[in-house]
């Protein structure tokens, strides 16, 4: 068990590789109750969220979920978030555990400056969050709910009961697999966990810890805010231009991001694969000659692809796919290559769901 932003969490249960493979091939379950939840509601909630986050709510229907970021006025990350649209003017922002307090005070201070009828509530204590992930996760949950899971499309959610506990069933996850995240009252979380464990026996579902969560998300090319990007990284530099609502009105950082888009960026977060036998880790330097020109932001040996991969912030001229780069792995110079992301993409299901 490790301390994670004040939450006591397991790094692994049966082993990172075992858990990782369970999620890729069958199903795994994560207790991710540490994630923060912030509710934003009121007449001016749409304007508020449009101002605070870079993605565009015009592309978000009630019942749908959007990946976005809380941006600074220079287009860098306060946090990356998921925005749930509960109603036209009612949103749930799911934020990183370590950033919940920072995000709340950021949101409040920004909104105080512009005014309006909007209430912002830290709802984190109201929700436990259980992620059930993997190609066989629908059949596990089907045992426990009358909600039509096939009707919940990727990045949509529904309200309903799982194991007799009312909550939100969200078709999302941080693994690159099909799966669900269940928002339930904390007092009921153990009941839901136990019921999923029981129903998961048929597919050999495994409980999974922070270790597999990290290797799975990295293999899927998903960023970890605080590791891959932070308040010094612009949304474009993080390779997340697709979450910027270019067509919407002004928002925090819009000016800088539009200028970066027009003029290009000097550095970029890229995926890489090791060529030499070595594992690059967070903080290792990317070298050009003997100069440190970039840095590895995430790196691991991935259990499914069985390769050493990672993300690195490199000068734009080294960011093209196929570019050879060199990384200082604890004093040893190791060759790597920029590759296309994601490293892993799940196979398309035979039937549409």
């Amino acid at each position: 068990m490790v301390d994670f932003s004040g939450w006591e969490m397991p790094v692994e249960y049966s082993g990172i590789t075992d858990e990782h493979m369970a999620v890729r091939t069958r199903a795994g379950m994560f207790d991710v109750s540490h994630m923060g939840e912030i509710e934003v509601a009121g007449w001016d909630a749409v304007a508020a969220v449009q101002w605070l986050s870079c993605n565009d709510l015009n592309k978000l229907s009630v019942g749908q979920i959007q990946y976005s970021a809380l941006t600074t006025d220079t287009g860098t990350f306060v946090d990356d978030i998921l925005v749930y649209r509960f109603a036209e003017d009612h949103f749930l922002l799911v934020v990183n555990a370590a950033n919940t307090d920072k995000d709340l005070s950021w949101i409040r201070s920004q909104l105080a400056a512009v005014g309006g009828d909007v209430s912002v509530v830290n709802a984190s204590a109201r929700y436990a969050l259980i992620a059930v992930q993997g190609p066989r996760s629908p059949e596990v949950l089907r045992e426990l709910t009358t909600v039509d899971l096939d009707a919940i499309k990727y990045y949509w959610f529904a309200h309903g009961e799982v194991a007799g506990v009312r909550g939100i069933i969200s078709r999302t996850g941080y693994t690159g697999e099909d799966g669900f995240e269940l928002f339930v009252p904390p007092a009921m979380a153990a009941r839901v966990w136990d019921a999923v464990m029981q129903a998961g026996r048929a597919v050999d579902l495994k409980p999974c810890g922070l270790g597999a969560r990290d290797t799975l998300r990295l293999e899927a090319g998903m960023r970890l805010c605080g590791s891959d990007m932070d308040e010094t990284t612009s949304v474009l530099e993080a390779g997340l231009g697709w979450i910027v609502g270019w067509k919407k009105d002004d928002f925090l950082g819009a000016g800088v991001l539009r200028a970066q888009k027009a003029q290009g960026i000097g550095r970029k977060l890229v995926g890489f694969e090791m060529v030499d036998r070595a594992i690059a880790r967070h903080g290792h330097a990317v070298l050009r000659g003997d100069d440190r020109c970039g840095v590895v932001t995430s790196g691991t040996q991935t259990p499914f692809l069985k390769k050493a991969i990672g993300l690195a912030m490199v000068p734009a001229e080294l960011s093209a796919i196929g570019t050879p780069i060199e990384i200082d792995v604890r004093g040893r110079r190791a060759r790597a290559q920029v590759v296309a992301e994601p490293f892993y993409r799940r196979p398309k299901p035979a039937s549409t769901s």
Binding site: I16, T17, G211, T215, R277, I279, Q301, R330
Partner: protein, 124 residues
């Protein structure tokens, strides 16, 4: 239970006498702390290592650790199968050797290592 024919270090390496050589690996306790081993970096054959000196690194999915030599000696071989099958360290930690050393005649070094019951006490 730690095998009684091995000697142990406080850094969680084991040593097995094999004729005039010794074999070195890491203990079951160490592999459980590390989790799934994915990479082992071993020294060149012919290198001289001193007791307690770093002879290589071992990486699991979650962590990197240094490997310390239980005794002084010359590396006469490294386990060739670890490059492709590092998971053997998790599966059979006390059977999976990493380096073979020719100790430099200081048997006092070996004598000072822990026996299995002392090591077990250490890891409790």
């Amino acid at each position: 239970m730690y095998p009684t024919d091995l000697k142990y270090t406080k850094d969680h390496e084991w040593l097995r006498q094999d004729g005039e050589h010794v074999l070195v690996g890491i203990t079951d306790f160490a592999q459980r702390q590390l989790g799934d081993v994915v990479f082992v970096e071993l020294p060149e054959v012919g290198r001289q290592v001193k007791q307690h000196e770093v002879f290589g690194t071992i990486e699991s999915v979650k962590a990197v650790s240094e490997l310390f030599s239980p005794v002084s000696g010359e590396v006469v071989a490294v386990n060739p199968s670890l490059a492709s099958h590092p998971e053997a360290i998790n599966q059979q930690p006390h059977e999976t050797w990493m380096i073979r050393l020719r100790p430099t005649a200081e048997s006092a070094e070996i004598g000072a290592l822990l026996d299995s019951s002392a090591y077990e006490t250490l890891t409790r």
